[in-house]
């Protein structure tokens, strides 16, 4: 049996990778994927806890998170496509019309 901490640390590392990806990557799609990575690392945390404390609810939460992530993905992609159509670019630095 793998200790709980291993999962938690793995999840934390994945989460941080997601954060770093979000902050560093310039491509909108990649940033978006980083968010998915963050959400999935949370899922991992949920499952790990759920198994550790022997309560099934955590795994059910994962379902909800996945569905919500999918909905978010669909909407996000649609928004990005709309932007791409107007701007012909997926570079996040071009999302800079409004400032100050």
């Amino acid at each position: 049996m793998v200790p709980l901490n291993y999962f938690l640390i793995l999840a934390a590392i994945l989460f941080c990778l997601g954060v770093i990806g979000f902050v560093m990557k310039r491509n909108l799609i990649t940033m978006f994927m980083s968010i998915e990575l963050m959400l999935n690392s949370v899922n991992l945390t949920f499952v790990a806890f759920s198994r550790h404390i022997n309560v099934l609810s955590g795994q059910i939460f994962v379902f909800f998170v996945m569905v919500i992530a999918a909905a978010e993905a669909a909407v996000g992609l649609a928004i990005i496509v709309a932007f791409y159509r107007n701007r012909e670019s997926l570079n996040v630095d071009e999302v800079d019309r409004m400032k100050l």
Binding site: V19, F22, V23, M24, R26, M31, V92, D93, V95, D96, R97, M98, K99, L100
Partner: protein
């Protein structure tokens, strides 16, 4: 009819007038607008008279009438220093001798000014301008707010009126919206007032925290039981007093928040008379008197009030000495006279503060209206340097203004003499009085007499310096402007007889006794006892002295401005025909230079060159002092107050740089900032 039951009508009637004129005014004829504006105010005045009459029929200690209309703000139970208090604020009115004086002044003077305005603002009525109905709608709204302020029976409702009058003041100052300076002045007034209001609100919260109520009656009863705080220490009552006074300095234009008032002269003259002389600016004095119990228990706060009042009195008066705009002279005069009122309150003589408030309302409203009449006659000219010799052209205005000037200068038997003299006497003799407070008052009185007669001489005497274009248009104002002037002139003459010092014909203390129930509690009684043993002779002596001082001020003004040709400057004698005009202009510019532009020139020397006979070391000294205060004022206005108003602009500019760095518009720098925030949060929570 029981008027007391209907005191809610007093503020409501002007609101109704405001509503009709504001909503339908555009389609009304001038007469209809006048009907609603004047009718509502007059009815309100009559209701006030009736209510006060009935109040006066009661026994002195029963003269408190509370009328709670409905529960305005309930907010459940809160833990305060008085245990759990049920927080509930009524929409309630309180008529007692103090608010009685105030509503009579507000509705009475207010009505006269309404009448005056129908003449003064007549040219605003027109299909395309349409400012006329707007003006009266605002003016009535102001009446509503002001009456709410003075009739409120708790701090929160008072604050409603407090903010309301600020709002109306803003609207009316900016009435001539096409002038940019008018808009700026309105904004300045509003913003400076808000700083004071922050103090008021804090004081109010602290009052609730301390006394568990915001109702005047309850708070005062509980405050009266509190021990008197030690002079020099800052206890909770002192804190409340100072915070409330901060609010008062904003509304009543005291140091350091006074500068908005001179700028407020951008508004129409009746507004200056009603709001910036007779009523709104006195709200601070009213509030301090209303909370007199708290101040009496906080000697430190009283000292603050007295000192700020005294310093403002002398400070503003010295600026008034050299202003060329007729309305600005009066504005600084108002600031100075308000300082007098605070001086009176600060030495514990609240009834004198209110007394002076009342007489001041008469003569200062009259002065402003008179100035308005002059401006009206001169087709909008406000510069004293382009007036002169109007005495015979507008005689009615002249006579009434002269009465007011004599009153404000403190010449017996005009109203100002009684109130001003009483203030000086109290500053000298009362338990909280100090000889130097008295001295400040006397110097301010000297200056007041000087600048007021300077105004009179420059306006009505000498040769005319009026623009020839304007000259042949000069006309006396219509009767709807003159009659209010005459009524106010009568009041300026006889208004002081309600309170006559003991050494004159045995004295009469009707006003003091009328207000006694409001200000009487154990602490003041101790103070009153202390005053008793002061001698009658000293009082008479000081009164005589202050009259002499006033006469000196008049004489100085006379020497400087009435008979300048007698100045022993032979060199100028050859150019006699244009002498007076030139001389005056030159003189003005000289002072102006000395004061504001060319600071290296010594004012004393400038004066010395013109009138060797009058000038002495004292004038030299006062010249230096004038220049000094004017410089300070200039500096204060430029760096602190404009800074305070434009502080915003300045700070904003400073803050825009970090903001520009933060708000880059880039998603990822936002995300990065968020990550920093998250790290901060986790650090705060977990690691700290």
């Amino acid at each position: 009819m029981n008027f007391l039951k209907y005191i809610w009508l007093i503020p409501l009637l002007p609101l109704v007038g405001c509503f009709f004129n504001g909503v339908f005014g555009k389609r009304f004829s001038k007469v209809t607008i006048d009907f609603f504006a004047l009718g509502s105010t007059l009815l309100s005045f009559l209701c006030s008279v009736g209510a006060v009459w009935q109040l006066s029929r009661l026994q002195p200690e029963e003269r408190v009438f509370n009328l709670n209309l409905f529960e305005w703000i309930p907010a459940g139970v809160a833990l305060t220093a008085h245990g759990f208090a049920n927080f509930s604020i009524q929409w309630g009115y309180r008529l007692d001798p103090l608010s009685a004086v105030m509503i009579l002044v507000v509705t009475g003077v207010g009505f006269l000014i309404h009448v005056y305005s129908t003449g003064y603002m007549a040219h605003e009525h027109g299909p395309h301008l349409g400012g006329y109905y707007r003006f009266f709608s605002y003016l009535n709204l102001f009446m509503f707010s002001m009456l709410t302020l003075v009739l409120a029976n708790n701090f929160a409702l008072m604050f409603v009126g407090w903010e309301g009058v600020g709002l109306c003041s803003y609207l009316l100052i900016g009435f001539y919206f096409h002038k940019k300076s008018a808009g700026d002045a309105g904004k300045k007034a509003f913003i400076v007032n808000r700083i004071g209001d922050a103090g008021f609100m804090l004081g109010m919260f602290l009052i609730f925290q301390t006394f568990g109520s915001l109702d005047f009656g309850t708070v005062m009863a509980r405050a009266a039981e509190a021990p008197i705080e030690v002079y020099g220490s800052v206890g909770v009552l002192t804190a409340i007093g100072i915070l409330l006074f901060l609010g008062a300095t904003g509304k009543s234009a005291q140091l350091p928040l006074y500068t908005w008032l001179p700028d407020a002269m951008e508004g129409p003259t009746p507004v200056s008379a009603l709001i910036h002389a007779a009523t709104m600016v006195t709200a601070g004095v009213y509030m301090v008197s209303r909370t007199s119990v708290i101040y009496t228990h906080a000697p430190t706060a009283m000292m603050v009030v007295a000192v700020v009042g005294g310093v403002t009195a002398i400070f503003a008066a010295s600026i008034g000495l050299v202003q060329n705009d007729i309305k600005r002279v009066l504005a600084y005069s108002t600031v100075s006279q308000l300082g007098y009122m605070f001086l009176a309150c600060g030495v514990g003589a609240y009834f004198v503060g209110i007394f002076h408030l009342m007489t001041h309302a008469f003569f200062k409203a009259l002065l402003f209206l008179g100035a308005g009449s002059v401006i009206h006659a001169l087709s909008g000219e406000q510069d004293l340097r382009r007036m002169g010799a109007l005495k015979n052209k507008i005689p009615k205005t002249y006579v009434t203004m002269l009465a007011a000037t004599l009153a404000i200068s403190g010449i017996p038997p005009f109203a100002g003499f009684f109130s001003k003299d009483e203030i000086l006497w109290q500053a000298f003799s009362s338990e909280y009085g100090r000889w130097w407070l008295w001295l400040i008052g006397v110097v301010a009185a000297l200056m007041t007499a000087f600048y007021m007669f300077r105004l009179i001489f420059l306006t009505f005497y000498n040769e005319s310096r009026v623009d020839p274009e304007v000259e042949h248009h000069i006309h006396e104002s219509p009767s709807n402007m003159i009659v209010p002037l005459q009524i106010l002139a009568v009041l300026s003459v006889i208004g002081g007889f309600v309170q006559i010092p003991k050494f004159l014909f045995g004295g009469f203390d009707g006003f003091e006794r009328w207000l006694e129930p409001v200000f009487k509690h154990p602490a003041t009684e101790a103070g009153a006892a202390a005053v008793e043993h002061a001698s009658l002779g000293a009082e008479a002596g000081l009164a005589l002295f202050s009259v002499v001082v006033a006469l000196t001020g008049i004489y100085l003004a006379y020497r400087f401005y009435y008979r300048p040709s007698s100045a022993p400057d032979r060199a100028m004698a050859s150019a006699k025909p244009v002498y007076t005009v030139l001389f005056n202009k030159y003189y003005m510019d000289k002072i102006y230079d000395a004061l504001f532009v060319n600071r290296t020139k010594d004012l004393g020397n400038a004066l010395w060159a013109f009138d060797r006979g009058v000038i002495d070391g004292g004038v030299n000294g006062s010249g230096w002092f004038t220049r000094f205060t004017a410089n300070v004022s200039c500096w204060w206005d430029k760096w602190i107050v404009d800074g305070l108003v434009n502080v915003v602009g300045f700070t904003v500019k400073m803050l825009s740089y970090p903001l520009r760095i933060l708000q880059t518009g880039f998603v990822q720098s936002y995300a990065f900032l968020m990550v920093l925030g998250i790290i901060a949060f986790i650090w705060l929570y977990v690691l700290r």
